[in-house]
Amino acid sequence: MYAFEIERPTSVAEAVTALGTEEAQPLGGGQTLIPTLKQRLAMPSKLVALTAIADMKYVRRDGDTLAIGGGTTHGTVAKEAATHFPGLAGLAARIGDPAVRNRGTIGGSIANNDPSACYPSAALACGATIVTNTREIAADDYFQGMFMTALEEGEIVTEVRFPIPEKSAYMKFEQIASRFPLVGVFVAKYADRVGVGVTGASNDGVFRWSEAEEALAGDFSADAVAGLTAPDASDMISDLHGTGAYRAHLIGVMTKRGVAAAS
């Protein structure tokens, strides 16, 4: 690790100011950034920790919407979202291990947009709104490829707002070493539509499997998915742990299981 300064602002406004300094970088729960720093793969001069901002830590239901503060840990979401949105709580409960869940935050996950992060699949499937210190961004506009988002320099994810589905489930097929999803599929059924968000699989990062969404909108059953052609394997990640063809195949399997398990 290289030496750096750290600030711990207690409000979003202070954090924004602190992030205005050159080479300052925001630090959420640190589950990606701290290991990167430990390996000397990044050299920020200043870190602005967001974890002391009390206003960014909440799980709040507002009618059919579940609003989660950007600084809320996965562990908190797993507990507090359970009655309102069990599919999302189930996703949060299976991220990493207890240490990761007690540090990692939804805002950090969404801002980093790791191609194998779990949350982005739920945000996309649900058509969530990403709220920042300056604006509201629709999930479809927000995720722009591996590690790419619509966020501007210094912009902070303060809240993620999920329309609560009638039924949902997250199915994760783990990569055997990291236990990140090799393929993760979030299925969300609403009265008028179905969302299918896929993480871990594509060279373009998290995406919506629109063919499955259309098929499931008419017939929300595992059989409706069974007949679909798998996404194009050549668009999928191919690495040590899985070929593109395997990942494409798993998307179908995980989607089918997600539909069957949705509650």
């Binding site: 055997i176 070493a177 990291s178 040590l240 742990h241 899985g242 070929t243 395997y246 798993l250």
Partner: protein, 788 residues
């Protein structure tokens, strides 16, 4: 009633109290006043010409004391290899030099190029970033068969080849084996890979070099399984320091699994640099460095052919193996695919003709050496896989086929040069059938199928050779060391005992089990006996702990030394009781005169030895301290039968191990609880190899599995409860304890049963075209195999 102390008791591990309460003293806990820190600059390319190293900027940076490069080691010895193999043609193996820091070329990712010594670790690392190595990239040699087929690119130019040796065993059998295979009623052939592994002990390697100007004494604190071996190799071959001026200390060591046997460049560097700068120098490996500098394990590519007659009797066996040596020869590397592998190819079976060919190959990868089992897992895996395949091809029960071919009479001289002293392979297989509840398998399979899963059952037998080794024999086979073990039993004046052993404990529980032996022999409480190990300054010359040798060889040395103690103590007791020595009996910690009620306590005899007022000084010396060196007359041959049940998800190829049972014959057992723990750990590593672990290089020699994000270690939820039984005991016939060793069995015996079970599961699901899946049987591989 199980015993509650002494041999056979499950005494709780006394060392765990300090390990579990943070009171252990590991090498990284060693901090010597005034110490400096070293950061190594390592090659990030697999192969290249090293044109020069620019250290000017680094030397000018804050806190930097000195920057070393290969030039500083030009007058220094090469990291030595401890075993010389003679090839099929009677020629010695190719043995390239291995400089402490790279000279002229870099040969694998992680090869150390320079070392920055600074006041703090931070400063050392910062300056290491500023060292500029001028490297002209060369194509990398990665694939073993290509490396042998073509000499266009050479890992070591001076050798003219990438082939280290081409070994044939038994060469005289070659034609007879070829003929038997040609004439056989049936031949089963299997090509397979024994995947490269990274040992990954929980504690990474650490070295602290110290130098005392006062007495010209060098001290190395290091994470080693064998401090005396390191002292010998480093002192005599690398740095030219005589033993009395070199002390090597291996304190608490957090797991070794083989990878801490070897002498490493970092150890030599820290010792050398401390003498140069007259200050202690400390290095602690990062986990990333461990992946690219700890010797790796396995990495064999094998073709095996098993010939049978019309009645399915094994008639001949032929194997051809490519064994990866990596870029340099690590300490015991050449012995692993040869004498630790070829000699085990008979397995548990009376195959009359065997020929083993091994081509050891240099590649631009991290050196490969012994890893838990070392050669024996590779032998067991190929043999037990080909037998399973043969059973399918012949349509016979795999257990019946094994039983039919078992060796049943002992001693048995195999056609591959070893003599099994004792064993009962039917007994362990019978026991396995019972503890694995094979009778209930069909019901369990039906339950799995009801959940949409395929259930498979795999069994295998194994035999291994432990207790390495008779020194005169291994000397003939090319070992450059003896492989005896030593013990000094020091009885103190009040009767407590310190046993100084040449064995080293790095997880095995010697501090608990060794006292059980001494206490049993003397009839005193175990807590009166302490074990001292790991420091060349206060232990007799020993060869260390690996190859499941500690109790069989080190324990035997301890028995011999304790016998000497008893003999002398009897003389003292005879004198004290004015009786004939022949009439003295030792029982429950007291010496008595046979046929009388006269007796003298252990403590009184010890006191008399050190306060010899009433003592036979004319006949014996005062004091009660004895040393013994034990050189075994044969290997020991633990054996057993293992059973694995898996479930395969037919949609994803995901394999889970549902049940695992191990029936072992370890001969006599000192501490059953520790033995079970050793089997549990070995099985976990075997399941890891079979399903998860894989060290992968790409074609440019980049290490793809260089962290835990990509290298899958087994975790608790990958391993089921393991049913362990060691009640089948055929005691070793040639060591005083009748013990065989248990440390490696789990890792040797488990991989074939896992893969056999996966294949069985796929066949039950109709995927009968699948005859083999290479380890690790990852979900993708299993799924791909099902696709055809």
């Amino acid at each position: 009633m199980p015993k509650d102390h002494g041999i056979g008791a499950s005494t709780k591990r006394r060392e765990d109290v300090r390990f579990l309460t943070g009171a252990g003293n590991y090498t990284d806990d060693v901090n010597v006043w005034g110490q400096a820190y070293v950061a190594f600059v390592r090659s990030d390319v697999a192969h290249g010409t090293l044109n020069g190293v620019d250290t000017a900027e680094a030397e000018a940076m804050p806190g930097v004391i000195r920057v070393f490069t290969g030039k500083d080691f030009e007058g220094v010895g090469s990291i030595p290899c401890g075993w010389q193999i003679t090839d099929r043609h009677g020629e010695p193996m190719k043995e390239p030099p291995h400089p402490v820091l790279a000279q002229g070329k870099v040969r694998h990712v992680g090869d150390p190029i320079a070392a920055v010594v600074a006041e703090s670790l931070q400063e050392a690392r910062d300056a290491a970033d500023a060292v500029v190595a001028d490297i002209s990239d060369l194509p990398a040699v990665v694939d073993m068969k290509q490396a042998v087929a073509s000499s266009d690119t050479l890992v070591h130019d001076d050798l003219g080849t990438n082939l280290c040796y081409d070994w044939g065993f038994v060469e005289e059998n070659r034609e007879a084996v070829d003929k038997a295979i040609q004439e056989a009623a049936h031949v089963t052939t299997l090509e397979l890979v024994n995947n490269r592994l990274v040992a990954n002990p929980m504690e990474p390697r650490v070295a602290v070099g110290d130098y005392s100007r006062a007495d010209d004494m060098s001290t190395l604190y290091t994470t080693s399984q064998n401090p005396h071996v390191i002292r010998l190799l480093m002192g005599a071959f690398v740095l030219g320091i005589p033993e009395h001026k070199l002390r090597v200390v291996a304190p608490d060591v957090g797991g070794g699994f083989g990878t801490k046997i070897f002498h490493y460049a970092e150890e030599a560097f820290c010792t050398f640099a401390a003498r140069q700068i007259k200050r202690p120098v400390k290095w602690t490996s990062t986990r990333g460095e461990a992946f690219m500098s700890d010797a790796h394990g396995r990495d064999h590519v094998t073709k095996i052919e098993l010939a049978m007659d019309a009645e399915n009797n094994f008639t001949a066996l032929r194997t051809e193996t490519y064994a990866n040596m990596g870029a340099y020869l690590s300490t015991f590397a050449p012995s692993v695919p040869t004498w630790l592998h070829g000699t085990l190819m008979a397995g548990n079976y009376k195959t009359p003709l065997i020929y083993v060919n091994v081509k050891a190959v240099f590649t631009n990868t991290v050196p490969v050496d012994a890893y838990r089992g070392a050669g024996r897992p590779e032998a067991t895996y190929q043999l037990e896989r080909v037998i399973d395949k043969a059973a399918r091809e012949r349509g016979v029960d795999p257990m019946a086929l094994r039983r039919q071919n078992f060796i049943t009479e002992f001693p048995y001289a195999t056609p591959v040069a070893v003599e099994y002293d004792t064993g009962d392979y039917n007994a362990t297989l019978d026991k396995l059938e019972e503890i694995a509840d094979l009778a209930g398998f069909d019901k369990r399979r039906a339950e799995s199928e009801a959940k949409g899963k395929l259930r498979g059952l795999g069994i295998n037998c194994y035999i291994e050779a432990c207790g390495i080794a008779p020194s005169n024999l291994v000397g003939q086979l090319g070992a450059r060391a003896g492989l005896y073990e030593s013990a000094t039993v020091r009885v103190n004046a009040t009767g407590s005992i310190s046993v100084m052993t040449g064995s080293h404990s790095h997880g095995q529980g010697h501090e608990t089990s060794f006292p059980q032996v001494v206490a049993e022999m003397l009839g005193i409480p175990e807590d009166q006996v302490d074990i001292v190990h790991g420091d060349t300054a206060n232990t007799p010359m020993g060869m260390g702990t690996y190859g499941s040798r500690s109790i069989a060889v080190g324990g035997s040395a301890m028995v011999r030394a304790t016998e000497k103690i008893i003999n002398k103590a009897k003389k003292i007791a005879a004198h004290l009781m004015e009786a004939a020595e022949a009439d003295i009996e030792l029982k429950d910690g007291a010496f008595s005169v046979a046929g009388t009620d006269k007796s003298v306590a252990w403590g009184d005899v010890c006191l008399a030895a050190y306060v010899p007022h009433n003592y036979p000084l004319e006949d014996i010396e005062p004091g009660l301290e004895e040393t013994a060196f034990y050189d075994p007359s044969n290997f020991t041959y633990p054996s057993g039968a293992y059973c694995c049940e898996v479930e395969v998800d037919p949609e994803t190829g995901h394999v889970t191990v549902e049940r695992f049972a191990a029936a072992d014959d370890f001969g006599n057992v000192i501490n059953p609880m520790i033995v079970e723990g050793q089997v549990h750990g070995g099985v976990a590593q075997g399941i890891g190899q079979a399903l998860l672990e894989n060290c992968v290089y790409d074609e440019t020699g980049q290490l793809l599995s260089a962290s835990y994000m990509d290298y899958a270690m087994p975790r608790a939820d990958n391993v089921p409860m393991v049913t362990v039984d060691h009640s089948c005991q055929t005691p070793c016939t040639h060591n005083p304890l009748g013990v065989k060793g248990c440390g490696e069995a789990g890792a040797i015996g488990s991989p074939p049963s896992v893969i056999n079970a996966v294949i069985d599961a796929l066949h039950s699901g109709g995927f009968t075209h699948v005859t083999h899946i290479d380890m690790p049987a990852t979900p993708n591989r299993v799924w791909a195999a099902m696709q055809g």
